[in-house]
Symmetry: none
Amino acid sequence: MNITLEQAEKIIVAAKSKSSELNTKMNIAIVDSGANLIAFARMDGAWLGSLDISIKKAKTARFFDMDTGIIGELSQPGGSLYNIEHSNNGLITFPGGIPIKDADGNVIGAIGVSGSTVENDHAVAKAGTEVI
Amino acid sequence: MNITLEQAEKIIVAAKSKSSELNTKMNIAIVDSGANLIAFARMDGAWLGSLDISIKKAKTARFFDMDTGIIGELSQPGGSLYNIEHSNNGLITFPGGIPIKDADGNVIGAIGVSGSTVENDHAVAKAGTEVI
Amino acid sequence: MNITLEQAEKIIVAAKSKSSELNTKMNIAIVDSGANLIAFARMDGAWLGSLDISIKKAKTARFFDMDTGIIGELSQPGGSLYNIEHSNNGLITFPGGIPIKDADGNVIGAIGVSGSTVENDHAVAKAGTEVI
Amino acid sequence: MNITLEQAEKIIVAAKSKSSELNTKMNIAIVDSGANLIAFARMDGAWLGSLDISIKKAKTARFFDMDTGIIGELSQPGGSLYNIEHSNNGLITFPGGIPIKDADGNVIGAIGVSGSTVENDHAVAKAGTEVI
């Protein structure tokens, strides 16, 4: 159960389209079920620092099979997962990372988007996952 | 005074059994008195991101000879050990890591468990230490 | 003077096509003039270990504006650049990385390909650069 | 297509048995198809430095779906893959890492063994793979 490159590229097309609709410039990363990069695109003029963030968001979403923003709620000071970001060579736990599931609900990979507000990042990631 | 592989494997059997009883899927890491990995098991379907966390919990517990959750109370903003997680290539300071002691109370290693809530992680780690 | 995402994606299409023609499965990475990843694709079934190698080849080619294989000739024992691979968080200096130039000969980025013999890696990278 | 923990633990039992037969003390690491650690055992008295080597051998074997020693023949000075060891956060390319295949020949993971001569390391790894 693993995402294919064809699926990953279809997701990137959809994410780029949503990003343009929102008038943003995004870094878009797709990882497979082993949390390894399968496809990536950085839109012209997108923040350079968001390159690594988008990849870390995708990995984080697959590492725990949940939206990155959910982990971020638990990793706050006093929260049960405080400073979990120090694991796995650096997690990113604000919104923009979402697991990708097949028709049967199996996690086959994840998308990570970075380049704008976390609301926009999440919206673009969501638009990407919806084509599967 | 060092944990043996036979002891470590007995601990993993107990931890897996407790994990199944709680209907969870865990990563279970055992380190020796030198804080080096001696045994490890990732249950089928356990979170990938918890692999590194379980090892870091075990190391953290042995680094300071105390439960990881205790350190986490001191590493909060304003606390005396604020952001201690930046040391040692990354500590994990929420519950799930427990020192392992011999009959005389000497620390001979530590266990780290990750894959569910911190309460479950701690319960599984505790079940592991109790067979020694 | 920087490669655009549209150009990078065109290069990836050409590289994938050449790879299929050679009956190989490749990791294909494109970096911009700042040596930062702009686009990436891992073909289904390609070696996992070639992911990092393809990115390092692209970076190496842009770091020194020459084919990676040329650097590899100079980095041998006794050579003038012996063990240069230790710099920049790891270089890869065997063939498969090629600078990408615009019509005026300016370097606007680089491609790195990994997944087969170094001869095939280089051929696929070359096919990619030829569409610009 | 992924190795199960039960399979990985059976492999470790076989590898420990072969190691004892050879009068050696080994570090034995098993990774899954995503090159992530699934099980590990360090025999009492085994070299500490071999812990990391065993894990890197297992990852290297899965990264390229071949015995680690084969890569080592190509990564010598003047060889086509010279200094490939700088990729993927460090490869180990001498014998002791072997891919694990299912009955249909699909790679489902890999084993890495370190703690003695490379001949013994390889023999123990091979004994491990043979129980699948």
